[in-house]
């Protein structure tokens, strides 16, 4: 399993292992893409984690499947297809949640499962249905083109710019809604802005991670960062860094071990999360045990 890895080490050490894949354009593009996606998702994911919006993120990543499929079938940009679908999904969710009878999570659940099914039905008419579906659902980071990277860069600049500029608004509406309303902040508008950011982060990550795995990069690095700090700005920086590094390491790993890149990245992120939650001095299992011991005394 690790043959390729051993070969490159014996040929020129660890440095050689790191530089070797860079000889391939698809690896260079892929590495840039996963680092960017890890950064964007990590930062936006902080609000997803802190506000408890994981389900909404999940709904978006599944619900935009029809848009992605149509774009795929027409040979158009997956990013644009996903973005259009995200707008439609967002509008329908906000309409459905007006109803008093049906709770918000139920409306979202119905919508995203139905939309996902529509995507599968659309794709199933195709001859190479299974392999296309796999590509869309788990992503294909090695198929990232240079123009995809520019799209990601642009989307990333917009997302991070908004997070930075409206830090005050997102912070106070996440922490203390009553106070935010009393100060005259427009909660509806700011919530909508946050949903747009989540949708943008999800759509941007589609090419690299696919519809299913993107959720992991949206919440796992941010949740990991939350265990390491008690300051929001630090948490955002850490989450972006953790996401980017996990993307890079996961992709290198998948290159040498020859496994699916998206899976490797998400598995690594999950592993890191469990290590941190075990070892974290403040919030981890060990810290918790130590605290209990202290209380027992």
């Amino acid at each position: 399993m690790f043959d390729a890895f051993q070969q490159c080490i014996s040929a020129g050490g660890v440095g050689n292992c790191l530089s070797n894949p860079l000889n391939y354009a698809f690896m260079r593009n892929g590495l840039i893409e996963v680092a960017l996606v890890g950064l964007i998702c990590g930062v936006v994911g902080c609000y997803v984690v802190l506000r408890g919006l994981s389900f909404l993120g999940d709904a978006f990543s599944h619900g935009i499947l029809p848009g992605v499929v149509i774009a795929y079938l027409l040979g158009q940009s997956v990013f644009l297809g996903g973005l259009l679908a995200a707008v439609v999904i967002g509008l329908i969710i906000s309409l459905l949640t007006q109803s008093q009878r049906i709770s918000e999570d139920t409306s979202i659940g119905i919508l995203f499962a139905g939309s996902f099914a529509l995507g599968i039905v659309l794709l199933s008419s195709q001859r190479n249905y299974t392999s296309s579906l796999t590509t869309i659902l788990i992503g294909y980071v090695l198929g990232v083109s240079e123009s995809d990277i520019y799209t990601t860069l642009l989307a990333g600049a917009v997302v991070l710019g908004i997070v930075f500029l409206f830090y005050k608004q997102f912070l106070i509406t996440s922490f203390d809604r009553g106070m935010a309303a009393a100060m005259g902040f427009r909660l509806g508008l700011i919530d909508l802005g946050l949903i747009v950011l989540i949708a943008l982060a999800v759509v941007t990550s589609l090419q690299a991670l696919g519809n299913i795995l993107v959720l992991a990069m949206l919440i796992t690095p941010s949740a990991t960062a939350r265990l390491l700090t008690d300051r929001l700005p630090v948490m955002m920086g850490l989450a972006g860094l953790i996401g980017a590094v996990e993307g890079l390491v996961g992709l290198y790993f998948s290159f040498y071990v020859k496994i699916a890149a998206g899976g490797a990245i998400v598995l690594l992120a999950t592993l890191v999360f469990f290590i941190v939650i075990t070892l974290s001095p403040k919030h981890g299992v060990i810290g918790w045990l130590r605290q209990r011991q202290r209380q027992a005394k």
């Binding site: 409206f166 309303a181 902040f185």
Partner: protein, 278 residues
């Protein structure tokens, strides 16, 4: 002595800290408040009392403009609500906040400045000084770098009060600030409220601590879906008025008055204007 609806209307909004006329609040089909008329002057410490679910919080939130409501008029310091509400400082109920949020005491206090900052502006050096000063006033400066979930209930309430001070309002609105806090915090809070009133500001405080309300407030506002009574504390704090407010039966048991209300029996403090408890 008591202000009735007609009297409330006869005041000029411009002279009042708060002026409310014909306020109605509905949650769906439930009427939370109806036909509220109030005129509150400057330099007053006003206690809002009433049973659970009587609409104390709702009244505060309607004045703050955070719950949908209809009113003929709400004016704050003689201005319309939309402009006047910048003059309000607010201490919400502690339960309504995500205390596990990754912010420090200092961060929370600084949020008090957010309401007056421009769209993209950040707190200035001046705002940071204000926050530091407010934290000193509530005795939390030494803990300014602590994460808020590590604080006790009383300490959290102090931070909330510091944040409200940073808002630099002229009217301080507090929702159950004495709920579940230790006695030294209670003292700190009440001292600051008295100072605030002394400097000419008005305090509007919802509380179910009747004894403290009677002891410290200049005026009391009894609420049960509407204003039952409003006026100087001594005039309002009578067993009869309280029985009307709490919607129960008044019993006299020796020196102790007891109201058997919908929330269960309520013991009234024996001395309305009496000395502090020993």
């Amino acid at each position: 002595m008591l202000q009735d609806a007609e009297q409330a209307k006869s005041f000029l909004p411009a002279d009042c800290a708060l002026y409310v006329r014909g306020l109605n609040v509905r949650y769906g089909e439930n009427v939370a408040l109806h036909d509220v008329d109030l005129a509150i002057g400057w330099g007053k410490l006003v206690g809002v009392i009433g049973p659970n679910g009587a609409g104390k919080s709702t009244l505060l939130k309607a004045i703050l403009g955070v719950v949908p409501h209809q009113a003929q008029e709400i004016s704050i310091a003689g201005r319309r609500q939309a402009q006047g509400r910048k003059l309000l400082a607010y201490v919400p109920q502690r339960e309504e906040v995500r205390w596990d949020f990754p912010v420090t005491v200092e961060d929370v206090t600084l949020m008090g400045s957010y309401g007056r900052l421009g769209l993209l502006a950040r707190p200035s050096v001046q705002d940071r000084k204000l926050a530091a000063f407010a934290l000193e006033q509530v005795g939390m400066y030494d803990l300014r770098r602590s994460q808020i979930s590590q604080l006790s209930g009383g300490q959290q309430q102090r931070v909330f009060l510091a944040r409200a001070l940073v808002q630099q309002g002229r009217i301080l609105v507090l929702d159950e600030p004495l709920n579940g806090v230790d006695s030294s915090t209670q003292e700190t809070i009440l001292n600051l409220l008295t100072d605030f009133r002394q400097s000419g500001g008005t305090v509007l405080m919802a509380t179910h601590d009747l004894e403290t309300a009677a002891r410290l407030c200049d005026e009391l506002c009894c609420i049960n879906r509407t204003v039952i009574a409003y006026g100087p504390a001594a005039a309002v704090f009578t067993p009869e008025t309280l029985a009307r407010t709490y919607g129960g039966t008044l019993l006299h048991a020796g020196h102790q008055d007891i109201i058997i209300g919908t929330n269960g029996p309520l013991m009234l403090p024996t001395k309305p204007e009496g000395e502090p408890r020993v």
